[in-house]
């Protein structure tokens, strides 16, 4: 039997919108749960899958914290990219599997956002092979970069570093997060109440604060960069 809501019901219903409750949630409730049931940081980049559609037009969101995020440091970063942009574009032409790529200075980070086909390790490896020296210049600008120079002689570690700085892609179907978190902790076949989905997301965002929300929109999914060039008569 449904009754009309009492004042207590209405009070509790309104809690999520109250500033003081949100403050409490942020500073007490969430840290409690982070301590009690933490989730591991999930790896970045698109997840391996056998379908061609999953291996074409994949998103890379590489976020590299700047050593010097002041205006002077940013000007230096902008200069390095501008001086090397011809080499970078020539390198991307030779890699042959990149649809588009751009560099952003966002917050305290230098970001490289690109869409590519195939496996990301091949993309990065081939990219280093043609323009390694440019990447060394970029590694000068970012935290942890010195350790990886010269990139041509540290390919495996550089690829691992890129993987670690590529953003986690939140699954397109929300309940898939249960599976990802279970796999990361070596568990299988567990019960999950769908009502606990918000907590799992909140805890995951504690471990992975910066994410890509889903795999993104594509106007023409399932085709490679070379296929588009060929079908448009541009040669590849």
């Amino acid at each position: 039997m449904t009754s009309t809501p009492s004042w207590l019901d209405r009070f509790v219903d309104g809690l999520p919108d109250k500033g003081w409750f949100q403050f409490l949630a942020r500073n007490l409730v969430v840290p409690y749960w982070v301590w009690r049931d933490p989730r591991p940081k999930l790896p970045g980049g698109p997840r391996s899958a056998p379908q061609s559609g999953e291996n074409l037009q994949r998103m890379m969101n590489l976020i590299m914290p700047l050593k010097d995020p002041s205006p002077i440091g940013r000007a230096k970063a902008a200069l390095v990219v501008a001086q090397n942009v011809d080499e970078i574009f020539a390198g991307l032409d030779n890699v042959g599997t990149v649809h588009n790529a751009r560099f952003l200075l966002l917050g305290n980070n230098l970001c490289m956002i690109s869409v590519y086909d195939g496996d990301f390790t091949n993309y990065i490896r081939d990219f280093i092979a043609t323009i390694g020296s440019v990447f060394d210049a970029i590694m000068d600008l970012v935290e942890g970069g010195d350790d990886l120079k010269p990139t041509e002689q540290n390919i495996e570690r550089f690829i691992d570093w890129v993987h670690a700085h590529d953003l986690f892609q939140v699954p397109d179907f929300p309940t898939d997060l249960f599976t990802l978190q279970d796999e990361a902790r070596g568990l299988t076949g567990r019960d999950h109440s769908v009502l606990s989905l918000p907590r799992d997301y909140i805890l995951q965002f504690h471990a992975n604060p910066d994410v890509s929300l889903g795999g993104g929109y594509r106007a023409y999914p399932g085709v490679s960069a070379a296929q588009i060039r060929e079908s448009q008569g541009m040669g590849w």
């Binding site: 019901d9 809690l15 749960w33 309940t175 999914p221």
Partner: protein, 368 residues
């Protein structure tokens, strides 16, 4: 009907499923689910590339009359359009007459959920039993507070006048049955569209289409509204004395109003998008939606013109069926899809619908 405490034993049959689906507040003379509906007439025009993928008649150049029934998923006989619910769009395409002058048809049945709850009819029987409506009990304030402190979702309050909870059983079932989770999560939060013409409808099951060269492809169909998807703001306070267009039947009212005022070429449209499955995709599993990274083909446009003149003959007593296919389209091995064919036939007979088109009765008896 089984007593409330004993679930029906497998195997599921069309009769056992229909018995579970009928609600106390439903109507045995009508459909057990998607009870409330309204039908419209329109046309389907295929795109210039459709015939490359499928040799079915309605994908060859031309313009084909359609009847479309929009519906609310609920089995309750009273309309509550603004309550959160899955919506349905069942389309019957009229195909060119055969050499003998006999008209043929094909159906495409779609709903606003991207996936189904179960892989097999037996699993669906279990789910339908577990998710059968129970009396709605508002979650107490203390339990809600506890839920908030546990960073989980408090249960939705009943709408004013809502006495049956449609979600609770499903949510509990999904805890132990992983395959049902995507459907349950999407259904629980689906809300209400501002118009039947402003929702996206998915046929969910995989079909196999064949083109004139004999090449076959596994595909899934979806209708995308050209007007764009928009849902009702569910947090707006409920108005017990609504303006026309805001009440319990606002969706049907809105549709009538819009079609009366749409002039000339300004007919509301849907695009038929066909997504092609790939090696490694679950072709026969309707609980797994395909991600948006598959090749999708624009197969044609459906335009909605007018409400049907006879809502009884042309809507309530029509028997749509997902198995009513035509040369060029076949069912995949999806077990639920196959099961639906028989279940829809039985339901049609039970409510005295016009002879199902499979029966071989004269075409003049069957269709407008």
């Amino acid at each position: 009907m089984d007593s409330p405490d004993t679930p029906p034993p497998p195997p599921a049959t069309p009769q056992s499923i229909i018995d579970i689906l009928y609600r106390e507040d439903g109507d045995r003379a009508k459909r057990p689910v998607h009870t409330i509906g309204i039908a419209v007439r329109g046309f389907f025009a295929p795109s210039s590339v459709a015939s490359r993928y499928c040799r079915a008649a309605h994908f060859q150049p031309g313009r084909y009359p359609v009847i479309v029934r929009f519906s609310n998923g609920s089995g309750c006989k009273d309309p509550h359009d603004n309550w959160s619910d899955v919506r349905g769009m069942a389309t019957r395409f009229t195909l060119p007459a055969t050499a003998g002058g006999k008209k043929t048809y094909t159906d495409l049945i779609a709903m606003t959920l991207n996936e189904f709850f179960s892989k097999t009819p037996d699993d669906f029987q279990e789910f339908a039993w577990a998710a059968r409506p129970v009396p709605y009990v508002r979650q107490s304030a203390w339990r809600k507070l506890l839920a908030l402190l546990r960073l989980t979702l408090p249960l939705r309050d009943p709408y004013p006048g809502e006495t049956i909870s449609p979600d609770l059983g499903a949510i509990n079932y999904a805890t132990t049955n992983a395959a049902a989770r995507p459907g349950v999560v999407e259904a629980a939060g689906i809300g209400a569209p501002v118009s039947y013409l402003r929702a996206a409808y998915h046929a969910v099951h995989t079909f196999i289409v064949t083109n004139s060269d004999g090449v076959q492809r596994p595909v899934r169909f979806s209708w995308q509204p050209v007007l764009g998807v928009q849902t009702l703001d569910q947090k707006a306070p409920y108005d017990p004395d609504p303006e026309p267009g805001n009440g319990d039947s606002y969706l049907q009212d809105e549709l009538r109003h819009r079609l009366l005022t749409s002039i000339g070429k300004d007919h509301p449209r849907f695009s038929l998008m066909m997504t092609i499955g790939e090696a490694g995709d679950a072709l026969d599993d309707p609980t797994r939606p395909w991600p948006p990274r598959r090749v999708r083909i624009m197969m044609g446009t459906l335009s909605v013109h007018e409400i049907v003149s006879d809502p009884d003959a042309d809507c309530e007593r029509l028997c749509f069926n997902p198995g009513l296919l035509t040369d060029g389209i076949e069912m995949s091995a999806d077990k639920v899809l196959k099961f639906r064919v028989e279940t829809y036939k039985l339901s049609g007979r039970m409510r005295g619908a016009r002879e199902c088109p499979f029966s071989g009765a004269s075409p003049d008896d069957v269709h407008p």
